[in-house]
Assembly symmetry: none
DNA sequence: AATGAATGAGGATTCATTCAT
DNA sequence: CATGAATGAATCCTCATTCAT
């Protein structure tokens, strides 16, 4: 039965991703150097290059792994009827996805200027855009569209920006979701009315 | 008479601020080098240092100039009764402030990770926090609090993140404000009820 | 076989130290740029940073290596009786140490203003001070104390400042040592008398 | 009459020299920037250039003013018989000169590496050399020559390097002079014997 | 699977100096 | 008598990346 004490073998790749994401989210992409990442892992910079072609590649690999659920969510939603129930389920699931990979989404939100110039930028933007499209009916009121859109951003903002509100994290998350659900409901109401 | 060919003459300091903010907002703070700024202005890097002590100092000076209205708004709000009307007026004025210095606030939003490590980070955070405090009643429902908070972020997000919605900018801005106003109204209703 | 054409191979670190010390002693610490050092070695500036964290670090490493004998001398002297014989042996050995790392001590002497602001400054000062304490009896005449002190500085000055006197280096060194030995003898005599 | 309150007029040139010397002696020539000097005087860098052609020029002017006594001393000594009495008087007067312009000589001693590359370097070296020549008889013993030389350096070292010895400054200075006088006496004795 | 040694490009910053006003 | 504005050259240092071993 192996030596569990050992710093694991073979999973270096994942450890790099973990540390990199942590640092990227903490200090920003540009301000995080490969030297830092390597030092945190007690490895050489060159070791990183054995596992990844470039710095950007590390980020891409992280995104590939962690953002897949968003694609799955979009795919699922596209196969459903465009009802209020679906939209609300999208929000519920999106909330799960967001909290499941909080570090990555925090990173995306706090490094938008940087990410925009990276290859993942476009793909991320298009995902958010797709989600938005699923929630919004382009023929409805401008106000209704904004409401749907806001529902989405409420979830985003809720992850980190609402630290002013003190409450049990899970309760807070529930409250945020509630507000978001309500927003799409109102948006829908405007159309149906 | 009138303005001669070269627009330089004492206004270099302001020109630096303008170009810097433009580039910071466009490409991010870290990725914008002083060389770039200097080249855009057709000046030497050293000239920048005649006007500002450090790179960060350029940003600080911009913030000092452009974020003052936020402080004024906060001061005003603190002298008003904590009624729904006040809160809605805060949102209206904040919307004006935001659009009046769009580039700066866009920068702040898209470079959060960077800004957090800069001296302006804390001061910006505390301003948003103060505004939040003015909109939120800490003894009200969690949901109500989230709603107030969301009103604020709707304005923020509205500036750049809602590009999916195609409409006349002014109309869109009005719609966003309307949603925000509605959110605080709903929050207030919960308390009063 | 034997040493091939290129003498590089793991000894880069030492080569940097050698060239750096040479240039520091020749042109002064501030006036010696890392570019110069790199060029003398036919390496990139960045290579220096692979081996040393900072410019000051290069100097520190040199001092660590070359000033050790002084510490050993101090330690030895402290384990001996405070007799004239011991003091004279201290001077003899110090003379050896000084001439054994002439470039470093020349540097220290000719860059005092600079060194004072560097981390090695304090440690160097304290070494000289310790040596002085070993030669001087604080309860003896002021003149006697000055004489002991002068003995030490005669050795220092002798290394470079006495170029006016033309003579065989070794003979000159012997003469300087003789004068120094004589000075402590006179100092001691005053006490004993 | 007149306004003595005023920050003096016309003596700016001297004030620059004073501040410059103070800073040069304190932090070293290279590490003292013209900006620093200007700031200490509450003037613009450009103002310095009104009074002096270059940074080096400031130092030259200081040296010209303060080192003149050394030239006078040398001239006087050359007109005297080469007796022990003369040599001792040279030391006495040199001690006065040294303590009369302590900052300058401290600077010279602690910035030798820098000074060597400046135009004043050669002139300073030649003065010390001339003094040495006046104290030393080239046909005497090597040891005797070293003794004379050491007498001179004892005075130099005495100014700053003997801070380990605690005593009233004037008494210390007297003791140092005594040791120096004694050294040339011993040197002379060897020849006469 | 990883290291040791190095590079080239570029970063922010500082300096002595100039000159029109 | 002095300033305000600017420059060109240099500084130390950091970074992502490479490659032979």
């Amino acid at each position: 039965m192996a030596t569990p004490q050992q710093p694991r073998r073979g999973d270096t790749r994942r450890r790099i991703q973990d540390v990199a994401l942590e640092l990227f989210a903490e200090r920003g992409y540009e301000k995080t150097s490969l030297r830092e990442i390597a030092e945190h892992l007690d490895v050489t910079k060159a070791a990183l290059y054995y596992h990844f072609k470039t710095k950007e590649d590390i980020l891409i690999s992280i995104t590939d792994d962690l953002a897949r659920p968003v694609d799955e969510l979009i795919a699922w939603a596209q196969s459903q009827p465009r009802t209020l129930a679906t939209k609300q389920e999208v929000l519920r699931r999106y909330s799960d996805v967001l909290w499941g990979a909080a570090a990555l989404f925090r990173f995306m939100q706090e490094n938008q200027a940087t990410v925009r110039e990276l290859s993942i930028g476009e793909s991320f933007r298009s995902k958010v855009s797709a989600l938005n499209g699923l929630l919004t009916e382009s023929e409805s009121t401008l106000t209704a569209q904004v409401r749907s859109c806001t529902a989405l951003f409420a979830l985003h903002a809720g992850m980190f920006a609402m630290q002013g509100i003190e409450a049990d994290p899970e309760e807070k998350r529930a409250a945020i979701l509630e507000v978001a659900l309500d927003l799409v409901a109102q948006a829908e109401a405007a159309v149906t009315a």
